[in-house]
Amino acid sequence: MPEAKTVTINMGPQHPSTHGVLRVECELDGETVVKARPVIGYLHTGIEKTMESKLYYKAIPCTDRMDYLAPMSNNLGFVLAVEKLMEIEVPEKVKWARVCLTELTRVASHLVWLGTHALDIGAMSMLLYTFRERELIIDIYEACAGQRMMSTYFRIGGLSDDLPRDFDKKVRNIIKVIPERMKDYEALLTNNQIFINRTKGVAVISAEDAINWSLSGPMLRGSGVKHDLRKANPYSGYENFDFEIATGTNGDAYDRYLLRLKEIRQSLRIAQQALDGMPEGPYRAHVPGVVLPPKEDVLHKMESMIFHFKIITEGFKSPRGQVYQAIEAPKGELGFFISSDGTNRPNRVRVRPPSFCNLAALPALCEGRLFADVVVAIGSIDIVLGEVDR
């Protein structure tokens, strides 16, 4: 028997810094990682399969539970895909409200990322600070949808309810407060020599590799590829907004940190524009038989009541066909592919989750590096296991 030179360490599924139930099989030579193999499936929920047996509108809550840190983005992706399938045009106000809320979601998701990433590196105060700020955004979810995390606020053809009365005031408060607080984060991390040592030149991926691994989101832009679906393939009225695509240069964990901070600022900028330009109007499209009529009409008009009853009980029939709609979720390209066979339930829903595709690059990021860098690499990818396993 040849002498064993390496030690295999099983990192996870219960491990404090694998962000859930990821398991990484690490082959170590001393402190150096020879081989790293991510093992997934511990949080498999069968969401894609479940959605096949649901009416279209009942499938929306499933999407929240994939990337539970960015519920609104998931809602948006699915809702846009169904709207594309049904050829529904939503009112302007809905578009603007959706943009505003998904950008806040991006901020919330990045804040959680920042907190957990810093915690992995050992700076534990960051977690508490970022969660404090995220709470403001969660409050907005609560005001809109009544739910703090699994909001399910977007509906096919509109929103579940009108925006709350103090929405404008609350969001403006966030836009004011978060940049102030971000100065603290930067003071703690950006120029901290230990943080720089831990992240600069760690978990590097070149632009070419990033494209070949089909990475998306900050993982791709961190390597200097200026690709953002909000610009490249605008949806939900993003062409009306003025913002910049932040990019990094070296493709290391430090660049991705700076990039996500820039993205938070840009997102707040978009949210500001969305608030300033928010048009008046209905919060649902008028598509009888597909989109629920206003509650007032349901109580007073015969036709509306019938439509309401029919939509709730048997949903709506979709035309035969296949659609793919991708959005720029906080973690990258989130795509929904829906294949319809003409019934009131999707024949097949396939999700293109950014976390899953980005996680595939983990071995490339940490092989040949030190064991401590695995943690930085996992943190820097920004995964949510609910989305990886679906």
């Binding site: 915690l119 590196i121 534990m124 040592n197």
Partner: protein
């Protein structure tokens, strides 16, 4: 003779009680201070302001089931917590806590044992602490513990050298190894050795953090990589011994730092019998600084830590020693 034994025994008991209570309340202080820095409340349920929390924790620890995994080396596994716990308490034998004072007509010295090589004793004993950690990592039969143990031994041995060298400057200037005489020389704030040895103090501070395995040098127990490090497989009172040992170490290096650089119990206003209060205040500031660091800094990576120790701290310590030596010579 008998009188001396009785007096010493009483002092030992008082110091032991004080240190162990200090350890318990150091955890409380740490949790409260960190909570304050992180916009939290911290322990608040057990007693007023959560003041009984350390006692609740101690009771919980003592009554937990002692889980011993199958693959451990039983004897070493059982000895390791003791090997880590005992040295951390031994240090207090030579630390001068207060000035000499008269109590009911008897002269009382403010130190358990005024060893004339006190400072050597301190450094010899603190170095022993690493054995407990190495043995714990080795005997646990777990890869995570083993890695924690190896990291720890490498780290503590590397920092031991700079740690030792950092205080030689003070010894050269003071021309004594007795901690009590060191304190007596620093009779006013201007005579504190921190002014004569600023670099030595910074080196001492840094190395002391590494010696006590605190953030940003807490690699042996880097929870984000190694879960619990060397004490992953320990539970119940064995774990508590590591835990108390760690805090006792923190208090010990704070005490030694206070004695060497901040004039120990020396301070204005208070009579000799109460001079221990100055000592406690100074130690408290040290502890606060440690906790503050923990709430602020990320953790070093293993190789960076070693580089820092050997390529930055060690040369600085040598330079400091050489310069001090030359100044003392002329």
């Amino acid at each position: 003779m008998l009188e001396m034994i009785v007096a010493s025994s009483i002092k030992v008991i008082i110091v032991m009680l004080a240190v162990l209570t200090g350890c318990a309340y150091a955890t409380y202080m740490e949790r409260k201070v960190v909570a304050f820095m992180q916009h939290r409340i911290g322990p608040s349920y057990a007693g007023p302001y959560g003041l009984l929390q350390p006692i609740a924790d101690a009771i919980k620890m003592a009554f937990k089931e002692d889980v011993v995994p199958d693959k451990v080396e039983r004897i070493t596994y059982a000895l390791a917590p003791i090997a880590s716990f005992v040295p951390s308490l031994l240090v207090f034998a030579v630390v001068p806590f207060s000035a000499d004072f008269t109590l009911v007509g008897r002269q009382v010295t403010g130190v358990i044992s005024d060893l004339n090589i006190g400072i050597l004793f301190v450094f010899a004993i603190t170095s022993l602490g690493v054995y407990g950690i190495v043995l714990a990592g080795w005997s646990s039969g777990s890869k995570y513990s083993l890695m924690g143990g190896i990291r720890s031994s490498a780290q503590m041995i590397s920092y031991e050298i700079s740690y030792g060298l950092s205080i030689v400057g003070v010894i050269l200037i003071a021309n004594t190894l007795s901690l009590r005489q060191l304190v007596e020389q620093q009779d006013t704030i201007l005579h504190w050795y921190i002014w004569k040895q600023p670099l030595g103090f910074l080196l001492y501070l840094t190395c002391a953090i590494a010696e006590t395995n605190r953030l940003p040098f807490d690699l042996p127990e880097a929870e984000s990589e190694l879960v619990g490090g060397y004490h992953t497989e320990y539970s119940s009172f064995r774990f508590a011994m590591f835990f108390i040992g760690e805090y006792a170490n923190m208090i010990a290096v704070s005490c030694v730092g206070t004695t060497l650089f901040f004039g120990g119990w020396q301070g204005p206003f208070l009579p000799a019998g109460l001079s221990v209060i100055w000592f406690v205040i100074k130690v408290f500031c040290f502890m606060f600084f440690y906790i503050w660091l923990r709430a602020t800094f990320p953790r070093f990576r293993y190789d960076q830590l070693m580089n820092f120790g050997w390529k930055v701290l060690f040369p600085l310590a040598v330079v400091n020693l050489l310069v001090t030596g030359l100044i003392v010579l002329w």
